[in-house]
């Protein structure tokens, strides 16, 4: 412990750099995951699309069960076979996006499917078309559940991003990885504790965001 503290005191700017790098990876991955997952979740929740929804959700679930180490390897292999750079930031981001899909996709899908049928009937009965129904009724009512999924994804991605250092993505995982190879306990602790603190802070922050984006009438 003391060594870890000493390391932090001696190299604050190095640790800060790793932390920022880590956050950047998480931000980019989750940003893309939301941009991808929410619209996809909305799409598969549409009427008459049950036959698409099931396999899509199933696939996302399978992806979740693949060990993260194996998934990084898989993404590397695929990128390499396509003749692309298989090491560093990009493959790590791709793997993390795939991971973050399930909580976002599943929560979006369930949230929209679970909107009270009376709400939908009221909207329809007053003459809303499908698009108006989605944007004026279904989506606003789904925000709390969708955001819970995003929060889940962010916290999870912070943890998994630590492993991404293996394929050269950087971040706090780099400290853990170096520490493990060089039997440097201080580095392992700096990385490990750093990731944990980051996770806790992100969780607290996201719960504020969740509350903030929830329509006022639903906050009671």
């Amino acid at each position: 412990m003391i060594e870890a503290w000493q390391f932090l005191m001696r190299n604050p700017e190095v640790v800060a750099g790793w932390t920022l790098e880590h956050l950047w990876i998480v931000l980019v991955a989750c940003g893309f995951a939301v941009i991808l997952g929410v619209p996809l979740g909305i799409y598969i929740s549409g009427r008459g699309r049950e036959h698409i929804a099931d396999p899509v959700l199933y696939l996302a679930e399978i992806m979740m069960t693949v060990p993260s180490l194996a998934l990084f390897g898989l993404v590397m292999a695929i990128l390499a076979s396509l003749g692309l750079r298989a090491i560093g930031f990009t493959p790590a981001i791709i793997a993390l996006i795939i991971y973050a899909q399930l909580p976002i996709l599943r929560n979006t899908y369930t949230a929209i499917r679970q909107v009270d049928p009376a709400m939908i009937e009221a909207g329809k009965g007053m003459g809303m078309n499908e698009r108006q129904l989605l944007f004026k009724v279904k989506l606003p009512l789904s925000v709390p559940v969708i955001m819970a999924g995003v929060r889940n994804a962010v916290v999870m991605t912070i943890a998994i991003a630590a492993i991404a250092a293996i394929i050269g993505a950087g971040g706090l995982g780099k400290a853990i990885w170096w520490g493990l190879r060089g039997a440097r306990m201080d580095l392992i602790l700096v990385g490990g504790i750093g990731v944990s603190i980051l996770g806790l802070l992100a969780d607290a922050f996201m719960s504020r965001v969740e509350r903030w984006v929830t329509p006022k009438g639903l906050r009671m």
Binding site: D116, A118, A122, G125, G127, M128, P215, K216
Partner: protein, 371 residues
Amino acid sequence: MIRLEEVTKVFPDGTEAIREATFEVEQGEVCVLLGPSGCGKTTTMRVINRLIPITSGKIYIDGVDNSSIDEDELRRNIGYAIQDIGLFPHMTVRQNIETVPVLKGWPKAEREKRVEELLELMRMDPGEFMNRYPSELSGGQRQRVGVARSLGADPQILLMDEPFGAIDPITRIELQDEFLKIQRKIKKTIIFVTHDIYEAIKMGDRIALMNEGRLVQYDTPANLLYRPKNEFVEKFVGTDRALKGLQLIRVKELMCGSPPTVKTDEPAEAARECMEREGINQMVVICKAGKFLGWVEWTDLEKGEMVGEIMKPSSDFATIDAVLNEALSIMLSTRRNSLAIVNEDNGLAGVLSFDAIQEALGEMAQRGEIE
């Protein structure tokens, strides 16, 4: 005007929800769809704004076949009110009420005016309620907002699915009275679904009694009660139809509109003279502005100088729009054989006596309306 011609609805699973229903609702009338659960009344309401497509038959709205009108356009021109859960929880009272005006693209100023108008019509202060969320309202207030929302774009036709369903009986009677008052002003053509025969008799100009998808009898409330078409109607109406008939009579038809009254600042002696002259043993006490305050009784006349000292304050009264059995039940609970009747702003409108009720029932019995 709404006209259904041999409308049949068969659901994909084979259930016949409506079987060849034919009836017409006149402009400005309230048509109540009544029947046991699963009789097809709600389905019948929903085919009118095409929330449910029909299998065969025709539905005309002001002479136009409703299948020839764009679905969304049709619905925006027909008010729709469902039980209070139908309010959008994420929208304020104002946003809820202006839903259809927004869909129709009304300018903002006009929408705001309309929201205020409607809240005032529902006797809710716009300043206080406009920006509240449904979760900040009482059950009765939510129902009011629901009705206001259905009137949003001033449609000529209203569909109401048990709009006063999920509330306590007292608030319910209040809302029914208020709604009847409003309907007299706005004269909409209304389809009103309920399973409560008392509500049907009170609210309906005509009642469509349904059973197993068939329209059994389409008639005025009085005819449904006293000239049932068949055994089912008779059973549904029940053996206590004399009591239900009280629902047909409004308090204002029977009350004495100019009863003797005294004010609090008059001497007790004035009350005694008046009671002797009229041969009564109690009198209504009102304030200067004519509001009902209570009663002064013959036996209390000795107890003080002024009416104000000897009166018995009371807050038991009925409104002029109440129906007879509501008034009767209040009267029975006060153990007094007269009931004060007040108008909208609590001013005394008259007094209803037990004798008047008995007399009216006697007349009805003679006409053969009750046995």
